[in-house]
């Protein structure tokens, strides 16, 4: 990648850092090993993360099912009330007035 001429200071510093790091890396152990207990912690946290993920999925679908049920129930109730009202309007109520008592 072409570098701008004003980057010369950064180029020097980057080059020096690369050399310094390479020197340090060569003097330390080549294949670092995970510290004691690292694998156990990772496994425990990963299992917990998977459990949370499965639970979140279950909660989401339970909520969706519940909402769907409420909607279906609401529609059925509305339809039921609507048809009942229409039946009521079709019938002419027979009014019976009580007879006044004899004088």
């Amino acid at each position: 990648m072409p570098h701008n001429p004003t980057d010369h200071l950064w180029n020097k510093v980057a080059s020096a850092l690369r050399v310094a790091r390479a020197t340090v890396e060569n003097s330390v152990e080549r294949t670092p090993e995970p510290p004691f207990g690292f694998q156990t912690r990772v496994i425990a946290l990963a299992r917990e993360a998977r459990r949370e993920k499965a639970l979140a999925l279950w909660r989401r679908w339970t909520l969706r099912t519940a909402c769907f049920s409420v909607v279906v129930f609401g529609m059925a109730l509305f339809q039921s009330l609507r048809s009942q009202t229409q039946d009521d309007l079709m019938q002419v109520p027979v009014l019976e007035f009580p007879q006044p008592p004899a004088p």
Binding site: K12, V13, R18, R41, V42, A49
Partner: protein
């Protein structure tokens, strides 16, 4: 990864997806050197390194079903490690420019010798010192700029490789690198003036 064979087989992957603990342990053992190398390159600091490496492996095992190939599994893990470091970098906002006088003795000495092209007495360059110095120099950069500068100028990756690792376009990588270098040039010019005042 260049020193190690790709050791993850399809059978191991299937068992890992099922949560087989022995395979998980074997994967941690085999992939730890690569993961810690990426973490150390992008976020110096002993305590943070182990926590971040732990986060990387937890993400790998909890999202292992997202890996569908065809790239080797080890490359996918490297990408998860890089993205985890990038997410952590984004949480740290760009901070103010550090002046030369605020550097530690070893850091100032290292930088002064570099400015003067003085190869004599390289001094003690520990991983911690170079890491801290780099963190201070890159502090004014945002997360994108820090990531690109580390990958291109320190790990000597090409723009194409960086684009592939990050999922960005090539032009975004190049423009980000150019902006980062411009900021670094201003920082280092000021530090060079301060360094020469001290020696004169």
């Amino acid at each position: 990864m260049s020193d190690r064979e790709y050791f993850v087989t399809a059978e191991m992957l299937e068992l890992a997806r099922q949560g087989d603990e022995r395979v998980w342990r074997a994967l941690v053992d085999g992939l730890y050197p690569n993961v810690i190398s990426i973490v150390r390159s992008h976020l110096p600091g002993g305590a943070d390194e182990e926590d971040l490496a732990q986060d990387v492996f937890v993400k790998v095992f909890s999202k292992i079903e997202h890996y569908t190939g065809p790239q080797p599994f080890e490359h996918w893990v490297s990408r998860v490690a890089l993205n985890t470091c990038y997410d952590r970098l984004r949480q740290k906002r760009a901070s103010r420019v550090v002046s030369f006088s605020e550097l530690g003795i070893d850091e100032a000495s290292f930088l002064a010798r570099t400015f003067a092209d003085d190869p004599s007495e390289p001094g003690e360059a520990t991983r911690e010192m170079t890491g801290e110095l780099l963190a201070k120099l890159l502090a004014p950069l945002n997360a994108n700029e820090q990531l690109v500068i580390r990958l291109i100028d320190l790990e000597e990756k090409s723009a194409t490789e960086v684009a592939d690792m990050t999922g960005w376009g090539g032009s975004k990588v190049r423009v980000t690198a150019m902006r980062a270098r411009r900021k670094l040039a201003r920082v280092l010019e000021r530090m060079e003036r301060d360094a020469s005042k001290r020696t004169n």
